[in-house]
């Protein structure tokens, strides 16, 4: 048991972090031209070449052969720089293709030839992926594949299957949202959760992205509080501000520790991994939203300006939190509630 990254893992994280700081810094999103995944799309071949989309996928199916630990390190950095969920869709899509035996499709995704985007289904039907559904596509372009999931499994579909229309920006205008409707899903690849619980992996990687937001907003607040002066003192020396920052540090660290735990438990298919996936979801989304809120408050009038980065993190945090699906599923998993029977882990 060791929850700390190895030297190799730290090296991977640093190289990811360096690339993102240089090529996709969060501040890019103040310019509309870089939003809606445009910047990511321009760098897509490079992102694929860096191996990010296959980082945690086994070598025998074309992946890089690392594990969930490396995946969550990657997506935490993606969260810190507000990278489009396209990367998440690509990572998961490649695995769906590989697991469903479509090695050729997996290769095209992993090499960057076939971009994948997320198709969020707010209320998946019981028959998913064979029934009708309404989806919200994120940062989609015409020739992309769409990745959708419900608790029963994860599917890749052609965008052409959906009657789509652009949607007014919601909470996060830096994401391009298209609504789509299909009367009948015709997935090009399908991985049921009994084969591999990929929806749980999606939840873990979303948590990692939210931890990235929680950490980025903590760092912004601490940095601002360390140089901004009022009443002749650095504002970080005022207890109200200092304690906000301490709370931000606490929730970010706890959320990260639990997301790491959940990732490792999922990879080892530990008996209780579902409750850890739910716990990391709750902790990471609360940490992201609360830290973003406090980051705005610490910045005062500056924080209420769209010129400050803080609101970008707040808005992305809300958008990512939606993708987890109904909160009640997380509560049930945490309380081991099945068919009205309380099923506590043996003590």
């Amino acid at each position: 048991m060791n929850l700390l990254p190895t030297a190799e893992q730290l090296h991977i994280r640093d190289s990811i972090s360096n690339f993102l700081s240089a090529e996709l810094p969060a501040t890019r999103l103040h310019k509309a031209a870089f939003a809606h995944g445009a910047a990511e799309r321009r760098l897509w071949a490079q992102i694929a070449e860096l191996g990010w989309l296959g980082l945690g996928i086994a070598e025998e199916v074309g992946g890089v052969g690392y594990g969930t630990a490396e995946d969550i390190l990657l997506f935490r950095e993606c969260g810190r720089q507000l990278v489009s969920p396209m990367v998440l869709a690509g990572r998961l899509g490649a695995e769906v293709a590989a697991r469903s035996g479509n090695r050729d499709l997996a290769d095209r995704i992993l090499t960057g030839a076939q971009p994948v985007v997320l198709a969020h289904i707010a209320r998946p039907g019981a028959g998913f992926p064979s029934g009708a559904a309404s989806v919200q596509l994120i940062d989609a372009a015409p020739d992309d594949l769409a990745l959708a999931w419900s608790p029963s499994g994860m599917a890749l579909c052609n965008l052409a299957d959906f009657a789509t229309q652009a949607q007014a920006p919601g909470i996060d205008p830096t994401l391009g949202i298209t609504t789509g409707r299909t009367e009948r899903f015709r997935p090009v690849a399908w991985c049921p959760s009994v084969t591999a619980p990929l929806p749980a992996l999606a939840s873990i990687l979303l948590s990692a992205m939210l931890v990235g937001i929680a950490e980025a907003t903590r760092d912004m607040a601490v940095n601002y509080a360390s140089f901004r002066e009022q009443f002749g003192r650095k504002i970080g020396s005022f207890q109200a501000i200092a304690h906000y920052c301490a709370n931000m540090a606490m929730s970010a660290e706890v959320a990260w520790a639990e997301t790491a735990y959940a990732g490792l438990a999922w990879q080892g298919r530990a008996g209780d991994y579902a409750s850890h996936v739910a716990a990391s979801r709750l902790l990471a989304s609360t940490a992201a939203l609360e830290n973003a809120r406090l980051c705005i408050q610490v910045h005062g009038g500056m924080g209420y300006s769209s010129e400050c980065d803080a609101h970008l993190f707040l808005k992305r945090g809300h958008a990512l939190a939606v993708l987890f699906g109904p909160m009640r599923e997380a509560w049930s998993a945490l309380l081991s509630l099945n068919d009205n029977i309380l099923n506590l882990a043996a003590e």
Partner: protein, 385 residues
């Protein structure tokens, strides 16, 4: 202690309600840009022409001359009728007017007060600076007395509605050798004066409600000084305490908001249970708690008005603005939670999203909640600094 209004007050309420129902503008108020100014001025003119402007302003200053309780009744009825907020006129009506009445020269009063009441001028507040937000006394914008002018150079920030304002309540440092609170002067600044550059700032809610204002040797006539030169801190503090009491007006808007939310929770079905969201004990209890806090807010506002009537100052007005800001923010946060599954793409959730984002300003603008708590601790409770 009594809750009943007098027969005269009830009659005033009835008349006000009748007039408001017939006269409240039906078209949607533009929330951004110059249209906002024109809309707000038109609504103010309409009130003025019907004799409803300046209800609690003394008759000598062109007001109706009624007590605070009438003003509160008016605000309640305006809220109930869905009347527009004071909006861009808020500084003029709630700060500049009362400040001029207390400290202005006869000439200043004669010129400005009628324009404010008649809906002919928009004011903004030039107090905060990049280095002086919570710490207002740290302001550095320089005012040099030259001939019959004060020549102003410097910068203000977070100035609401500066891009559509005619005049500004401007604080400048006219004596930098004096203490932090001494050496500050309060002047009326004509926003069309040469040397002023206004840059609207986009807020996180996407509108342009506030601005940076740059002053490059702006010459302001010395007769525009309100109070005495170097006595501006005292004048400004009196303005700020008026602003804090202004929270009384907020409670009707909040009630509407809360009722909207309760109705939403009653109209919408929880997928997991097939019951209205409102039947979910978690949502029920949170909405009930907000309703209770709202009731407390209104009772506190009534206490503030009672206190104003008695003329004896009390602790409630400092608390009111703080409580209102945090309750409004919490209400909007719950609203976002209820709508969260729909917030990815705009549609029906867009209004709630906008109000949620706007509510972040409530605990920042006009004094952060942290500064307000300091004030309660030190001035109301007498705790040591």
């Amino acid at each position: 202690m009594h809750l009943e209004f007098t027969a005269e007050e009830n009659a005033f309420r009835a008349t006000a309600r009748e007039w408001l129902v017939a006269n409240v503008p039906r078209d949607k108020r533009p929330d951004d840009g110059p249209g906002t100014r024109e809309f707000d001025l038109a609504w103010q003119r309409r009130q003025y022409e019907a004799g409803w402007a300046g209800i609690n302003w003394p008759k000598a200053h062109g007001g109706v001359g009624l007590p605070s309780v009438h003003h509160m009744i008016w605000l309640e009825e305006a809220g109930r009728a869905g009347a527009p907020p004071m909006g861009t006129l808020s500084v003029a009506l709630s700060h500049a007017g009362p400040t001029l009445m207390a400290f202005g020269t006869d000439a200043q009063k004669a010129f400005h007060l009628p324009r404010i009441l008649q809906g002919a001028s928009v004011w903004c507040q030039g107090f905060s600076e990049p280095g002086a937000g919570s710490d207002l006394a740290g302001l550095k914008t320089r005012g040099v007395v030259e001939d019959n002018c004060i020549v102003v150079t410097g910068q203000k920030v977070w100035t609401s509605h500066a891009h559509v304002a005619d005049y500004q309540e401007l604080l400048v440092r006219t004596d930098s050798s004096a203490g932090r609170h001494a050496g500050i002067t309060w002047i009326i600044c004509d926003m069309k004066a040469p040397g002023i550059t206004v840059r609207p700032i986009r807020t996180i809610a996407g509108n342009h409600h506030y601005c940076e204002v740059f002053y490059d040797e702006v010459r302001i006539p010395i007769e525009n000084v309100v109070g005495a030169i170097n006595d501006g801190w005292r004048v400004a503090m009196s303005t700020l305490s008026i602003e804090r009491a202004g929270g009384v007006a907020g409670h009707m808007a909040l009630e509407k908001e809360l009722n909207r939310l309760i109705r939403f929770a009653d109209d919408n079905i929880d997928d997991a249970t097939g019951e209205p969201l409102l039947r979910d004990s978690r949502i029920m209890s949170e909405l009930a708690e907000l309703k209770a806090k709202f009731a407390g807010l209104r009772a506190l506002a009534y206490t503030v008005v009672s206190r104003e009537e008695s003329g004896v100052p009390g602790p409630e007005s400092s608390l009111l603005a703080l409580y209102y800001a945090e309750l409004l923010q919490r209400t909007q946060r719950l609203s976002m939670q209820l709508l969260s599954s729909d917030c990815l793409g705009g549609g029906s959730a867009q209004d709630a999203i906008d109000r949620y984002l706007q509510s972040f300003s409530n605990t920042i603008m006009g004094g952060t909640s942290e500064i307000r708590r300091n004030i309660v601790a030190q001035r109301v409770l007498g705790l040591p600094r």
